[in-house]
């Protein structure tokens, strides 16, 4: 008798979170690196405060994409082919593995993304519009989408020699709907408009990625083994 779907997904997520807590790489390596990256634009361009403020949101989402990919791929790289074989022999549903891995990546990516707002506000003299807290669900939905996309891209490229370069190449264009929706939500908020439409787009994109991940999990698993 094997564990049920959600229990299996939860066990996999716990494993990934435990591995991340032990290594602490997302917080101690990736986050400081991301902060340095936010600092590069004001340092290199010597831009006026007004221009910097305009650049704040695009730079944030760009860094969210690049460092989000880094976090998600680091997570997925911790699993070797032998690990996957052992997991397969427990009767683990590959779809539960996908859900568990994506959930763990989201739980790592979301607080890092949230913390990244602080250096952007400080370094870009950014004045968040009123109701900025409405961006929290946008960042959560963006983190969920990035995590699922990264897990999917890592599974598609598993075993390929050019995996480390191919996976981001695959992921970056597919992340466009997520990033566009998220940045448009912020623009709309600044302009005093609503963000419901963009949140809906994000939800639809996340649901599409979830369906793709769950439905392709078995086939990708068989290729990986």
């Amino acid at each position: 008798m094997k564990a049920g779907f959600w229990r299996s997904a939860s066990i996999i997520a716990q494993r990934d979170l435990r591995v991340e807590i032990r290594s602490g790489e997302a917080l101690s390596v990736v986050f400081p690196f991301a902060v340095v990256a936010t600092w590069v634009v004001p340092l290199a361009t010597d831009a006026s405060p007004g221009l910097l403020r305009d650049l704040a949101a695009p730079v944030y989402w760009l860094i969210f994409l690049l460092f989000g990919m880094m976090i998600v791929f680091r997570q997925t790289a911790s699993e070797t082919a032998d690990h996957r074989r052992v997991l397969a022999l427990t009767g683990l549903d590959p779809a539960a593995r996908f859900v568990g891995r994506s959930a763990a990546s989201t739980l790592i990516l979301f607080p890092i993304s949230g913390m990244l707002v602080i250096p952007v506000i400080v370094l870009y003299d950014y004045r968040p519009p009123s109701g900025i807290w409405l961006m929290i669900p946008v960042i959560i939905l963006g983190a969920i989408g990035m995590s699922m996309l990264g897990t999917l891209a890592a599974d598609v490229t598993v075993g390929l020699r050019a995996r480390t370069s191919l996976a981001p190449l695959l992921m970056a264009p597919l992340a466009a709907p997520l990033l566009m929706s998220a940045s448009q939500a912020l623009e709309s908020l600044i302009a005093g408009g609503g963000i419901i439409l963009w949140v809906l787009v994000l939800v639809i994109a996340d649901l599409g990625l979830a369906a793709a991940g769950v439905m392709s999990a078995r086939a990708l698993e068989e290729i990986a083994l």
């Binding site: 564990a3 299996s8 066990i11 435990r18 290594s23 690990h83 074989r85 997991l87 022999l89 009767g91």
Partner: protein, 243 residues
């Protein structure tokens, strides 16, 4: 001793090589026993390169079979094929009553125990966390993972992070995995590599307990003499061909 034909005399008293049980004292007709593993002319290619070619192999319940061969002979691929990880490119195969290379094949994985060259443990987790996680995924209480570690003499190392363990400890912990859930079919790839003599007795114990409860064991190694100590019969594999 290697039997090139692959049909060496099995020492187990209740089984004969034809796949049937010995006649009972009442002379009833022999009952057919389905083999746990039955490969007929199975070939496997990886990346266009033939690794296994026309392999025939049968493993009965209660039997342990050794497959000996040099490096690159196809031993690990043979195990991966039986474990349903690699579908055959030609021939037919059945594992635990399920045809290989079909959508149903993954369903038998939960009944298979496999130990590869390298211990498949997560270095950032403790030995206990590794084994408890696998026990929970198998649907058993986490405690079974700890018990399995105790059985292989690692009861005191439950909280040690795997990356800090010696290779021997990792190998032992990897074998402890196979004690969870009593798999019906054990697949062992060079199982004694990196183990001392005491630890190697764990392998004998695993094989004995599995065969006694009617399971089967397929063990591959480059060392035929070592295999003959564990297996009822030993066959040879060379350049992807058995026998």
């Amino acid at each position: 001793m290697v039997s090139p034909s692959g049909v060496g005399a099995p020492p187990r008293p209740n089984l004969i090589h034809s796949g049937q049980v010995s006649p009972t004292p009442r002379d009833q007709p022999p009952l057919p026993i389905s083999p746990l593993v039955d490969l007929v002319d199975v070939s496997v290619s990886l990346g266009g390169v033939g690794v296994l070619s026309g392999c025939r192999l049968s493993l009965l319940p209660g039997e342990s079979l050794g497959v000996a061969g040099p490096n690159g002979a196809g031993k690990s691929t043979l195990l991966a094929t039986v474990a349903t990880f690699i579908p055959p490119t030609a021939g037919t195969g059945n594992v635990l009553g399920t045809p290989l290379g079909t959508p149903q094949a993954p369903a038998v994985r939960a009944l298979i125990g496999w130990s590869g060259h390298v211990p498949a443990l997560y270095p950032d987790l403790t030995l206990g966390e590794n084994l408890k996680m696998l026990a929970r995924l198998c649907g058993h209480p986490a405690k079974e993972g700890q018990l399995a570690l105790e059985k292989v003499g690692l009861g005191g190392a439950v909280n040690i992070r795997t990356e800090r363990c010696s290779n021997g400890m990792k190998r032992r912990a990897d074998l402890a995995r196979l004690l969870i859930g009593e798999p019906r079919l054990l697949l062992l790839d060079e199982p004694d590599a990196g183990l001392d003599r005491d630890a190697a007795s764990i392998i004998s114990h695993l094989i004995r307990t599995t065969t006694r409860r009617g399971g089967g064991v397929l063990c591959v190694s480059h060392d035929a003499a070592r295999l003959s100590g564990w297996a009822d019969r030993v066959v040879e594999i060379r350049e992807g061909r058995i026998g």
